[in-house]
């Protein structure tokens, strides 16, 4: 079982929120930790299981309206994720998972209560945002540009209690201006699915937050860097 020196990563409700290759983020985080010699344990917590509050990093992915609403209900009723966040866990929330971290979101035409862990709310846009997404990440995070693919009908409005993760240069993100949100050790983004495949620096940020390190030993990112260069170039066309 886990010891204090083991990094614990929880993937929240893969049975409900894993429509777009979201497993990739769990695999990439675990791999990048292991490459640094950090022992890792991963947990896939289904929606019918209690949510542990002792893990270091929580991942939540995208999904359709019905599962999104169900996931929010269960997480509110369970309370484990709230405890984890209060204890300082790091979080990466994607798409539907990002929306449900806010105060409210729309699913199946109805306004649904969110977890209230990020000061934001989401509603429906007039058009669906589909395509390459690119943005300049808040300089305080010290990360290279965000690249991703977005596919969502929602628009997200940030309150004063969060910072935008990035300024949009290509695509829509939250509202055409800003993309995603961060507060404390919580990151939310519309860069959907396996966002960390194109943004290994965000994976490393989560790892650094989780272990309290200012930096990590470098790893060979030849292929991810080639992919990033290709996608950033494709998005600027």
């Amino acid at each position: 079982m886990s010891t204090e020196s083991t990094l614990r990563i929880v993937w929240i409700y893969p049975d409900l929120l894993s429509t777009y290759g979201d497993r990739g983020n769990l695999l990439i985080l675990a791999r990048r930790a292991a490459m640094r010699g950090i022992p890792v344990e991963t947990y896939e917590i289904r929606s019918d299981q209690p949510m542990p509050s002792m893990a270091d990093i929580y991942l939540i992915g995208g999904g359709e309206d019905g599962p999104q609403a169900l996931a929010a209900q269960r997480l509110i009723a369970d309370g484990g994720l709230h405890r984890a966040v209060n204890q300082g866990a790091a979080v990466l929330a994607i798409c539907a998972g990002y929306q449900l971290f806010g105060h409210s979101f729309f699913a199946k035409g109805a306004k649904c209560p969110g977890l209230g862990l990020l000061d934001l709310h989401s509603d429906r846009g007039e058009t669906r945002a589909v395509g390459e997404l690119r943005g300049d990440i808040d300089p305080r995070l010290g990360l290279p540009p965000l690249t991703g693919f977005e596919n969502h009908g929602g628009r997200t409005h940030l309150g004063p209690g969060v910072q935008p993760l990035a300024r949009v240069t290509v695509g829509i993100g939250n509202d055409g201006q800003t993309e995603g949100a961060w507060h404390g050790k919580i990151l939310g983004t519309y860069s959907h699915g396996p966002a960390l495949a194109r943004n290994p620096a965000i994976a490393d940020l989560l790892l650094r937050w989780a272990i309290g390190a200012d930096s990590l030993p470098p790893v060979d990112d030849t292929w991810p860097e080639r992919l990033r260069a290709e996608r950033l170039a494709a998005a600027s066309n």
Binding site: E4, S5, L7, D15, L16, S18, T19, Y20, G21, D22, R23, G24, L27, I28, R31, M35, R36, G37, I38, P39, S47, D48, E64, D65, G66, P67, L70, V130, G131, F149, N151, H192, G193, P194, A197, I211, G212, A213, L216, P217, V219, D220, T222, W223, P224, R226, L227, E230
Partner: protein
């Protein structure tokens, strides 16, 4: 903090470990398009007088259509769109080209099923499965199931042959309000049906069985099912199925084709010899010899069909090609829904427009690979013998073009 210490001490070890890293058209659409411009009801006119079967679903419809058409040909000439042109223009072309035939077996794109049912008043509609496909623009899976359900509810006279293993399909088929012939073809892919389309509650699974935890939706007992290397019919008789097409998935497609043929009165014992004549389907499973390499083409257009392709592919050098053009869907996220681990012990080559997405995916998956720019480079990179090619839709067509549009 112990972790910080571990990180610090791992730097040199890691550096050593890291140095290891390496790193066009068949003419089957245009005729119908022109015809429909001239007479918007042309498809209905061409279909009238024929007994029609429509076959739809996310996966397997082209092959199942080919097998079902072969089976039905036992009792008369069959018009069919055997090149996968599965929208109304393709149906119109296929029926026009075939002339007068007593039967038609048509593959239908799942988005067009309602329209084609209205136009062709089919005797039978076969519903294979609904899984995610073309993520960036396909209707969400549950929404597609609702469209099917509505389409069938308006046509109580249509006989339905449907997949008992797929909760989305069962819910859609049950809406038709009449008897459904259920088949079980064996389904590997479950990730799209964890949530009940009827009530939104979790779906439980145990072995092949499934049921909703919040409403009466559950797996119906199949009339047709795969067992060992054969198919059990509704009377309980087992039939050995011999196919030229590889893999468990094609045994399942054969079971479906037998169920469709039975709706036309063709018995399994009559249909089976016809199924055995099918060697390839629009280039899929085709084998071509090139420079001493025996190239076999496998199409994999979404996560479910990649799993099936790994099951079919022999333990041989394998070329993977991935594009993300319009027909493929622009999003490559699905790569992380496929576990490529079955390829770990073979020579893997990658190519295609989105080879870099594939490269990162394979690296995360612990699969060694080599990136090649062209199909010829791939041929030269493998020893004489079998080369398995697994490609998604437009990548498959590109390679098929390299091989002179093999059928």
């Amino acid at each position: 903090m112990p972790l910080r210490a571990k990180v610090a001490t791992s730097v040199s070890k890691t550096a050593a470990a890291l140095s290891r890293a390496a790193g066009r058209g068949d003419g089957s659409v245009i005729g119908g398009w022109i015809g429909l411009k001239i007479d918007p009801d042309l498809l209905a006119h061409l279909a009238s007088g024929r007994a029609v079967a429509l076959i739809s679903g996310t996966n397997g419809k082209t092959t199942t259509t080919r097998l079902a058409a072969a089976a039905v040909s036992h009792i008369g000439r069959v018009a069919t769109n055997s090149f996968g042109a599965n929208m109304p223009t393709g149906h119109t072309s296929a029926l026009a080209k075939a002339g007068t035939t007593p039967f038609a077996v048509l593959e239908v794109d799942e988005h067009y099923l309602a329209r084609v049912i209205d136009a062709t008043t089919p005797r039978v509609v076969a519903l294979l499965n609904l899984s995610r496909d073309q993520l960036d623009r396909a209707k969400e899976v549950a929404m597609m199931a609702q469209l099917w359900r509505d389409a069938l509810a308006g046509h109580p006279e249509v006989r339905v042959v449907a997949n008992a293993d797929d909760p989305m399909v069962v819910w859609a088929a049950e809406g038709s309000g009449q008897q459904v012939t259920w088949f079980s073809a064996g389904q590997r892919w479950h990730d799209d049906s964890f949530v009940c389309p009827q009530s939104g509650d979790p779906i439980e699974r145990n072995g092949g069985d499934w049921w909703c935890t919040g409403c009466p939706l559950r797996r119906p007992r199949p009339h047709w099912r795969v067992e060992d290397d054969g198919v059990v019919d509704p009377r309980g008789d087992w039939h050995l199925v011999k196919l030229q097409l590889p893999g468990q998935v094609n045994l399942g497609n054969a079971a479906t084709a037998l169920a469709v043929a039975a709706e036309f009165g063709v018995r399994p014992i009559e249909a089976l010899p016809h199924l055995a004549t099918v060697a390839s389907v629009a280039g899929r499973y085709a084998q071509v010899d090139r420079d001493g390499r025996n190239v076999r083409l496998l199409l994999a257009k979404n996560p479910a069909s990649w799993l099936e392709a790994f099951d079919m592919a022999e333990q041989a050098p394998t070329l993977l090609s991935v594009n993300a053009r319009d027909p493929d869907g622009l999003d490559t996220s699905w790569l992380y829904d496929v576990n490529f681990a079955p390829l770990r012990d073979r020579l893997v080559l990658i190519t295609g427009d989105r080879a870099l997405d594939l490269a990162v995916r394979l690296e995360v998956n612990g699969v060694a690979f080599r990136h090649v720019r062209t199909f010829d480079e791939a041929i030269q990179a493998v020893p004489p013998g079998r080369l398995e090619v697994i490609a998604n839709y437009t990548a498959f067509q590109d390679i098929r073009a390299e091989l002179d549009r093999v059928n």
